[in-house]
Amino acid sequence: MAKVEVQIPGPLRVHTNQQTKVEASGSNVSEVLANLAEQYPGLKSQLYEADGSVRRFINLFVNGEDVRGKQGLDTPVNDGDKIGILPAMAGGAELTPEQVRRYHRHIIMPEIGSKGQRRLINSKVLIIGAGGLGSPAALYLAAAGVGTIGIVDFDVVEISNLHRQILHGDADLGRPKVDSAADAIHRVNPTVNVVKHNEPLTSENAREIIRQYDVVINGSDNFPTRYLVNDVSYWEGKPLVDGSIMRFDGQVTVYAPGYGCYRDLFPTPPPPGSVPSCAEAGVAGRDVWHHRLHTGHGGHKAYSRHRRASHRTHADSRCSQHGVQRAEAAQRSQLSGMW
């Protein structure tokens, strides 16, 4: 009986507690495989056909040499030999050891676990605007392991952005925001796939861009874009997280598909010039951050104002009364449920 080390390919690690190498024993390759399947029962159906023969697309190696060139499954093994198992073709992988280390504190929480982490890694989030709201959202999502982050922004970094837009720094002045955002995200987590949309969001391109993502975060700085993002997210059935901020107040609302939309709360855009922009009214950099943590602060006030507004005018709304109530419920739970 020799003790050998078996190298486990990515797709099989779900059955070996994510170990890349495990010990097994046997006097030949066939016995080693049988011992392996005994130790890790999940491997059995992956390695063997129903009749008990080893699946033919699997290539087996002893110290790097294919056993087909040796004595096949009868190839003898010695203490310390390295046995390799590989599919004839390259397949996908479960979490890698590096991912397990990086997201360990997520994975140990039962509410997330490796399944939840895998979902985060496979998810795609679109952020409209790499500004005051888009910045913290992008960095936290990147750190959490969201696999693909799309950023729509056609601005360049200006010095008046820097007190709140933490994706960008002094060295980025004059650079396209999408470039500086991608760099900042990769500093936090180089495995994130950043998709740069260095263009204005228009009715021409919005549908094609938004449909590629699972969730949309709206941190835009103007009403036409805000309504456009809402409308397209609504029609594409994408959950929309809508955030806005001015001076010391902020508001965030989650519009889940089927539970109403932005137009239920705000049926029509305000007249041009009636709502000041950040450049006109100012915005507290600290509040963009604060807004993330304690959404209730300014949000409650804004919420009750908007609630009245929506009741007054909901007959004009595109979504149903039912949708309005659900949007409000969703908003309430969001306001009280965060942090």
Binding site: Q7, I8, P9, G10, P11, L12, V14, T20, Q46, E49, V54, R55, R56, F57, I58, N59, L60, V67, R68, G72, L73, G84, L86, P87, A88, M89, A90, G91, G92, A93, E94, T96, R118, I121, N122, K124, G147, T148, H186, P190, T191, N193, V195, E208, R211, Q212, G237
Partner: protein, 322 residues
Amino acid sequence: MYGAYTVNDPIINLDRAGTIESPLDLIGNTPLIRLRSFERELSPGVELYAKAEWFNIGGSVKDRPALRIIEDAERDGRLTHDKILIDSTSGNTGIAYALICAVKGYQCEIVMPENASEERKRIIAAYGAKIIYTDPYEGSDGAIRYVRELVARNPEKYFYADQYNNPSNWKAHYDTTGPEIWDQTGGRVTHFVAGLGTTGTMTGTGRRLKELNPEVQLIGVEPDAPFHGLEGLKHLETAIVPGIYDASVIDKKVGVSTEDAYEAARQLARQEGILVGPSAGAALKAALDVARTLRHGVVVVLFPDSGTRYLSTELWRLQGPR
């Protein structure tokens, strides 16, 4: 509703009668082959056709997205002659990039797991591209992660073609594969079956066919488990999901075992004289399962490549001792 639809995409040269001005003109416009021997076991109202993608000059369906990715990037300036085209691929896309870069004079680097088939490695090298091998135990996702890190460290040096996330991938199929199938079936196609890898084939072809006739059923084929021998296909529940994947396009997703896929490919060779790769075998198995449930219909299944690319693998190894 089945009005005539003409293919008029400028990148495809439809006239194959005369001389060919460039090898790249032999990308797209592949034949649709009727699989009559398989139709015998189906209801008389059911027709079964295969889109024979190995007729592309590079030998696989991947010529289409690779050409579109490169030409779109040339148009908007992302790809210039001072940059190196780089991407991760388990093989066919690498061959397509290498071939197109050879024609157009670009430098090309292909990142692939070391256990990719020997034929693929040699073909890519023959076109003059550089191959970077990654740990075979990390699979195709390991190659993806490697390229991302490499490009993040040196963004100016590379044009990262990124077939998994580049919309040019599915647009190639939206503009060519979809309209071709529509034309070749006279607008009668009722079911389209294709494997899911980058998912570009299904996303692009599917979107176009649905626009032409919302009743067309789209069936995506994937391996039945993360551990499989179906080159080019991905088990989407466990693999890195491509950015261009749009689950809402597909009507039904079918899992096929490696063994069933190989068996279907072998049967196709013996019965129809058509030698295909393992992903085509998987697509055929899924298409037959769908076709058997129909009384009427025109089922089109896409065969991504030929079996000659897998002669060294288990697919065509005759039964016998390992």
